[in-house]
């Protein structure tokens, strides 16, 4: 599904990340594990095309990211990648439903309110469509963020530290939600986390330390 080859990402003279080769198949579940500062965020940013590698090539869904520029890259990202950030970042001025519709709109798709509702129903939020994010619990807000990430049927679903601030029960539920949603759209799931509790759930792991694969 994606291949990273001969990747180096430097900030000035400092090497932030080096991955000789990382390949993932369609529908696989990957965990990028490692302490903070190990290069997890850099790896995610490279996968989504937000960051360019200093050297090496990245091919996602058959698309060489180096070949995409500007708004074409943005559009590709909107349609191909679903991203659940650690802090969720729901748009506070929009309702739950509008947050999901926004993802469709910004990806350049026509907004499909039935699909948006169905996606929110699949994460158990059908009763909260008109709520503002500030009126949601942490768990509910995370569900909205997941719905927003999967509404466009992404080939690649990425979550950054999704369980960091959750108790065991909620961490397990979140993981279950992510895997079921990834399965639903046959997406490859990549979770970056330093949370030891969720290691067992992943068949594939990329262990990072000081910017290198261990």
């Amino acid at each position: 599904m994606f291949v990273l080859e001969g990747i180096e990402r430097r900030y000035g003279a400092t090497l932030a990340l080096r991955i000789d080769r990382w390949e993932a198949g369609t529908g696989e579940r990957w965990l990028i594990a490692g302490p903070s500062g190990s290069g997890k965020s850099t790896a995610l940013a490279l996968l989504t095309g937000l960051l360019r590698p200093t050297s090496g090539t990245i091919v996602v869904s058959g698309q060489n990211l180096a070949a995409l520029e500007g708004s074409a890259l943005d559009r590709w990202r909107g349609r191909t990648v679903g991203f659940v950030p650690q802090r969720l970042h729901l748009v506070a001025s929009l309702s739950v439903l509008d947050n999901v519709l926004l993802a469709q709109y910004l990806a350049g798709k026509s907004t499909d309110i039935h699909r948006a509702r169905a996606t929110l129903t699949s994460v158990g939020l059908e009763k909260l469509l008109d709520r503002r994010p500030s009126m949601l619990s942490q768990g509910q807000a995370q569900r909205v963020a997941v719905a927003r990430a999967v509404v466009n049927g992404p080939a690649l679903l990425i979550a950054d530290e999704p369980t960091a601030s959750l108790d065991d029960e909620h961490a397990a539920r979140t993981l279950e939600l992510l895997t079921s949603q990834a399965e639903g759209s046959n997406a490859t799931l990549v979770v970056a986390s330093h949370d030891g509790r969720i290691r067992q759930a992943f068949a594939h792991r990329l262990n990072l330390e000081h910017g290198s694969v261990q």
Partner: protein, 401 residues
């Protein structure tokens, strides 16, 4: 979902700051519109009332005062002039029309004007009811006078000495014999009568009070206050006023010139007020800059996530620009409404400004410019925040969490 809805949601979200900036813009634009309408109305009223009067002749004194008294009927006249001398000008080949006017009395704040029937035609007025005067103390009242005082044909009223009321009363009452149709000109606010009425009123007055005001009954020594002159050709402008001023005891004043002079004095005040109003608009624009810029600290996460969701740099800038333009246009539109509304209220509340009530909602061509300016200032206000949005490092912001 679209860009407009997203921007509108931000405008709604920022509650108090939005409301304050909107208010500032509204006040600034409202003041500008108010001034524009008022000066347009004042100018057109001055022009309308002065139309057809090329020259006013009266006693020596301030030419502006003479014009104010004789054409706009707002000031006391400079004095009286011999009727004979005024009538001599009638024979001048350069004069097409000369209408003598005698002032001195009023009723209920409306001036009683002794004159000849030509004055009615001069203002393009016509009788709505009744007839013209044919005897002393017959009066024809203007439309406003009839409406406000309730006088109608057959009504009787007593004039008082002086132009603003409060003077002594005259013994002989006036009889209303005619009412004029509304013209939108100064004649609506006048009570017209024959010259003889004024002479007789003041002859009585003189006998009773030994007061020197007014005219004698003796034909040769009869006086009027002033005379309105219409030229046969514009060429008369060159010589006639100078001749009158130099060679007679009369003074000639040009309404067009005096009105322009008056308006230039008034215009200075308008310009200063307009500058203040512009200052309000600039303050509002700055308010929008500050509000947007401060919101950027929080908004950077929204912008980062929007970029993550597929929005291009141009599109996230567009959200900010649109938000600012929405705010500015809303402020401008509300300001336009406020300005027009204020003018209409002035018209409703002040009887002297009654014509404003109907003129208040006529649109000015300058209003299109106000909208254009508002949109432009909206764009300007959003430039710095939009630049920040354009350059945002999405990966860093999202990772920062």
């Amino acid at each position: 979902m679209n860009l407009f809805r997203l921007s509108a949601s931000y405008v709604r979200q920022s509650g108090l700051a939005t409301a304050l900036n909107l208010l500032l813009l509204m006040l600034g634009v409202g003041t500008i519109v108010l001034l524009l309408i008022l000066s347009r109305e004042l100018e057109s009223r001055l022009m309308r009332d002065a139309q057809g009067v090329d020259l006013v002749v009266g006693a020596k004194g301030s030419p502006l005062q003479l014009v104010l008294a004789g054409v706009f009927h707002v000031d006391t006249p400079t004095g009286n002039i011999p009727l004979a001398e005024a009538l001599r000008l009638r024979n001048d080949p350069r004069v097409a029309q000369l209408i003598p006017i005698s002032l001195g009395d009023s009723f209920g704040g409306f001036r009683i004007v002794g004159t000849e029937p030509e004055l009615i035609g001069h203002y393009g007025a016509a009788l709505a009811a009744g007839r013209l005067w044919n005897a002393p103390f017959d009066a024809v009242v203007g439309a406003d006078v009839a409406a406000k005082s309730g006088l109608d044909v057959g009504g009787i009223f007593a004039g008082v000495h002086g132009l603003r009321g409060g003077g002594g009363g005259h013994a002989e009452p006036y009889r209303v014999v005619g009412v004029l149709r509304p013209t939108g000109r100064v004649v609506d606010r006048l009570i017209l009568t024959g010259l003889a009425s004024v002479w007789e009123a003041h002859a009585h007055h003189e006998k009773e009070n030994h007061d020197a005001a007014g005219a004698r009954t003796d034909d040769d020594e009869r006086e009027v206050t002033l005379a309105l002159i219409k030229y046969r050709s514009p060429l008369a402008t060159v010589g006639l006023p100078r001749e009158i001023n130099a060679q007679t005891n009369l003074q000639a004043a040009s309404p067009a010139f005096e009105a322009a002079r008056l308006f230039s004095v008034f215009g200075l005040g308008v310009d200063i007020l307009r500058a203040f109003a512009l200052l309000l608009v600039v303050a509002a624009a700055l308010g929008i800059v500050v509000a947007l810029y401060r919101a950027m600290d929080e908004r950077q996460y929204d912008i980062a996530i929007m970029r993550m969701l597929g929005a291009s740099r141009a599109r996230v800038c567009g959200v900010l620009l649109l938000e600012s333009v929405l705010l500015a246009s809303a402020g401008a539109l509300l300001g336009l409404l406020l300005g027009h509304f204020a003018v209409s209220q002035i018209g409703v509340m002040s009887p002297n400004a009654a014509p404003l009530a109907s003129a208040a909602w006529r649109l000015l061509p300058q209003e299109a410019w106000i909208i254009v300016l508002a949109i432009a200032s909206g764009i300007l206000a959003a430039l710095i925040p939009a630049w920040r949005a354009y350059r945002i490092d999405v990966a860093a912001v999202l990772a920062k969490g």
